[in-house]
Assembly symmetry: C3
Homo-oligomer: 471 residues x 3
């Protein structure tokens, strides 16, 4: 099977079988890193880095060179073309006519999807804002797989900034997809976003237990867990004993401890003032029984959350994670460029149900409320139309197809009103029963009453000012 | 014939025959872009970009890699060596000893010529301030040639910023050289500079008709033309009917419409305030009969002057223009590096008369009045001597050999005065008959009376204070 | 013999025999620069430039490409990873797992040593602050060797900024190591640092004569010499005639004149105000008899200290120096990567005695007083322990193993005091006889009395407040 001409924008773009195939090609290449220079000869990769990055870019470029390919790169390009007002679509089409594959990092969430939509060549997302960073996730999974031979049924603790880390977001869904259990151990104030929890339950079929109280979180040697995700493959009784799961989970040991640094560059002002984690993973911390065989992981760079004294510990995996980025990216580049083909296990993903959500294509200027979403940027609105998945009716929830941000609009109407019969041109509260009765293809949403009324809609009896959800 | 060791600083550095040879090699290479990796193996190209640029640099670098060559690049180097006070000549000599060919972009006009003079290896100008950008012009011409099989006799409309666009300036002379007619359609306030019009008439032998009045320019669907250049090859009767040429030209259809963005980064403050073009080339605009078969071109990046809805129109050529930059630059690199040779039609250029203007080498500190000319920069005056072509005697007009900026000095004198006979050491107004009587090799020019008198010259009767041209 | 897996951090990392072997391989490669593309095929060099540089980086990258290798580079990375708080050790380990060899330029002195200690692959120092720039020195030596066939016994004048030029510091020791005599001709205020003079005498065995008076320095055509270094190989009588050496040295002619620009970017504020050299090496200056056969050298870039009119003079060597950077760096890369092996003359260095100084590993927070030393930077103190060579006992002098900065601590104590017997826990002045009696392995140093007392030490009778060296 060929992966040629495919793009990797989110980790979901690859099935479990395909990811395993990347791993098995990486295994082969890792055995002879310097003897692969015939694989991509004559091919050109372009690195487009709109945000500073050294490690990720150098890793991709080293991988392409190890394959015998060429690299052209544009680093920190915020100041150049964008200053001239160029759109991502134009940039994508043009560099897509120069090179055979594009690797892009960009601060706008959803930007990699836009580039993939327009480039005409395969695109790899090397980080789009706080959204995803799927190749980091591949390195993480590959490391777990290599060290534990499987991912299914393992218990992985995520520690630190679970709110802003894009590597964390990609990793959560990947772990769920492969049937791992997740212990959420956030720095207080940097908990995992609600829409990720929801997606886990809806699309991956597992259960999430929330820690009822905060007390006790800071007991020495105890993980500051606030939630547990248990896949359908795990013993169900755990989920039936709310409140004690947390201790149970720890007693049987943690398979991997994934530490992250606070993504201070994405903090709001208030967060910048208030959040201060003093938890340091050091020798002392790792003395706990539950960490006896734990893989200590970190996407790097680290700041103070992971002590240098751990480096010499055989449980430390973070430099191996980084080094494995080379064979993983080599395998991925070779496959997407069509320079190598691999056998792919064809069976469907077990732990992930592909939901075909109805699509809301907007109209009346409903836009994604995420200010760093690619779809709301001045240069991009000239050609991009907002588009949302209707992921839930109660409450009515839309998810932007670009940045995957979810939101709940307040008012709705039906496009199915009759010209001339203005009494049918009415709007309703989104939390009224109308959300379920209007057909998706007729749905119109508004963020405020004034927006609805500006379009000529009148309030129905389900849009009353005194009701919850009022303007 | 070999083009090895030649440089491309202005589009005039290549004869028509040589340009056609570049095109025919580009044709061959375009058929197998990924099978040319043996052409420049072992050769090194250096990109020196003193101004931000993504597209042009990536295009050159991709081309070099497609040829199997290597690339070293220095991007946005304003902050490094120049900060240490290094001159272009030193930089040129040094990198010329590292690499086999230099591609340079620099904000100073004439900088590419200086680099070519000192490097010892071939140099390609990738844009020197507002002066020239000859490889963009090659892509433009190549696109017209591919789509229309010829350039001679075509009618090309140039739309937008005709004042600051360096791509426009290179293109105008190239079109004239190949016998095309040009319709000038500037954004008001951004008309093509006078010295370009003059050069067209003097050196390319055609005629320029200026639109007498501005009225009517903004009729819907009508190009805002203010001048027409008609080559000697076009039916002469057109030129005999002043005033109606403009309509006639349009009735028979426009072969190509070359749209440009306002080069706001080069605007003066007043221009920044006042100029505001609302003309947008969109589906509606292109409905006019005269555009039925028009190639819609743009050097990109675009801002708002060209609507995205045109992208899907078969007349849109701008992404093809960009893509054709690869085979064009491959052919050019291979030829200048001597890695390929081609047959070149030997006959002289038909539409361009090579004028051997006398040279004025200055003295008495006459310098180019263009503040972004390379010859007046502090680091360069240590070794560069100003040098000018005397392109006209009435009025006396000098053209800088570096930036090609033309200017009319106010006062002149003859170096042929006799020591001891101070009555012959006199200066005159440049617009007096003396301009024609002083031999070019004796000519001395001054920009002011005080400058002349500081050098010991006294006013002649043709330098009176009350006369026009006074200090 | 193989140089594979060796690093080049300071010029002393290579013996004279090894340097000569680099030269002889460079000779071979220089004869066919463009036919070496099989030497390093499949190898990757990474350029890590934390300070702007164009020339040095391009020279390394061109050399690697000429060898058929690949290059990945991170330029001006101050703003990226370091902003995220990453340490040099982490960066070194990670990129060391991507590439086969690292070339680093960094503003912190000693940074290249840290990278070499952690990378796991060979590291080449391309300039670490004001410390060293050993490959520039190799180019300098190679040029002298090529033009004069030997370095031993030559007379080399160093002119300009001898205080901040890292190329100067590397060069001084290299010249001494090969038995050359050095004439120090500093711009007043930019004299060579004392610790370099001391090291010359102690470790290279020669003699340094200091010019007694400043008068006469500015006689036209006379070098502004203030010190002469005479190697053990030179006629001893010179050293016996203090005061007239300076004139004698000049009368017999100078073999090379090494001119440097003022390193203004490293000046203190006061230096920036006061230092102003008006000495320009131009045709007039070089008319002196002593310069008849002098090689005029400069590491470039130049500012105003070396006139362009000298460029055409056959004595000018500076563009040759730059061009020779290619074969020298090719040879060095090929050797350190193990792609080539060479015969190395095994005899020990004649002019340099490798002194095995005792090591002081600190304790009680004694840190290097050099504010740009790598060992005192916030990101590095998390894992680096200060370490010093005890290079002298009278006065007690420590030399940082990272930046090689020397300093004289004020107070000392012995770690050999007996628990419970506090009368032995005393500190002394470093200039008392105790400095010689405390065994190096027991030595403790303090920079102030309060520091000593904070650690529980009491003053001995050799720590009196009135004595010299008091707090």
């Amino acid at each position: 099977m060929t992966l040629a001409n495919r793009s990797l924008v989110t980790i979901d773009d690859l099935s479990n079988g395909e990811i395993e195939s990347v791993f098995s090609l990486a295994d082969k290449m890792a055995g002879a890193l310097d003897r692969q220079t015939d694989v991509c000869q004559g091919k050109i990769m372009v690195s487009l880095f709109f945000e500073p990055s050294t490690r990720t870019r150098l890793s991709f470029e080293a991988a392409m060179h190890r394959l015998g390919g060429s690299v052209i790169s544009a680093v920190d390009i915020g100041a150049t073309s964008l200053a001239k007002g160029e759109s991502l679509a134009d940039m994508a089409k043009i560099v897509g006519s120069y090179a055979d594959i594009i690797v892009i990092r960009h601060p706008w969430e959803g930007s990699a999807k836009v580039v993939a939509d327009y480039a005409g060549v395969p695109v790899i997302n090397a980080g789009d804002g706080g959204h995803q960073h799927p190749t980091q996730t591949l390195c993480d999974l590959y490391t777990i797989q290599k060290e534990r031979q499987t991912i299914r049924g393992l218990k992985i603790a995520l520690l630190g900034d679970l709110k802003y880390g894009r590597t964390i977001h990609s990793l959560i869904f990947a772990l769920a997809k492969f049937g791992a259990n997740i212990l959420f151990c956030p720095t207080p104030g940097l908990e995992v976003p609600q829409n990720i929890i929801k997606k886990l339950v809806t699309e991956y079929g597992g259960e999430v237990e929330i820690q009822p109280a905060v007390e006790g979180k800071k007991r020495a040697g105890v993980l500051p867990m606030d939630a547990v995700y248990i896949t359908p493959s795990s013993p169900h009784q755990l989920a039936l004993m709310p409140g004690i799961n947390f201790d149970l989970e720890l007693k049987t040991g943690v398979d991997a401890l994934y530490v992250t640094r606070p993504q201070k560059e994405r903090f709001t002002y208030d967060e910048g003032q208030g959040i201060n984690s003093s938890l340091v993973v050091n020798k002392e911390f790792l003395k706990g029984k539950e960490f006896k065989k734990t893989l200590v992981m970190h996407p790097l760079p680290r700041v103070d959350e992971l002590a240098y004294e751990v480096d010499a510990d055989p449980r430390s995996m973070y430099f191996k994670q980084a080094a494995r980025g080379i064979p993983i990216r080599m395998a991925l580049l070779a496959l997407l460029l069509g320079s190598r083909e691999v056998a792919v296990r064809e069976e469907p993903d077990f732990f992930r149900s592909k939901v075909n959500y109805p699509i809301y294509k907007g109209g009346y200027e409903v836009t994604c409320p995420n200010p760093v979403c690619v779809s709301v940027q001045g240069t991009e609105t000239k050609y991009l139309k907002p588009e949302f998945k209707i992921v839930s009716l109660e409450p009515l929830t839309l998810r932007c197809v670009y940045c995957e941000h979810g939101f709940e609009p307040k008012y709705i109407a039906s496009a199915d009103w009759h010209e001339g019969r203005l009494d049918t041109k009415k709007y309703h509260r989104a939390d009224s029963h109308w959300a379920r009765t209007i057909k998706p293809e007729n749905l119109i949403v508004f963020n405020s009453k004034s927006e609805a009324e500006a379009q000529g809609f009148k309030p129905s009896r389900y849009a009353g000012a005194g009701h919850p959800g009022g303007d």
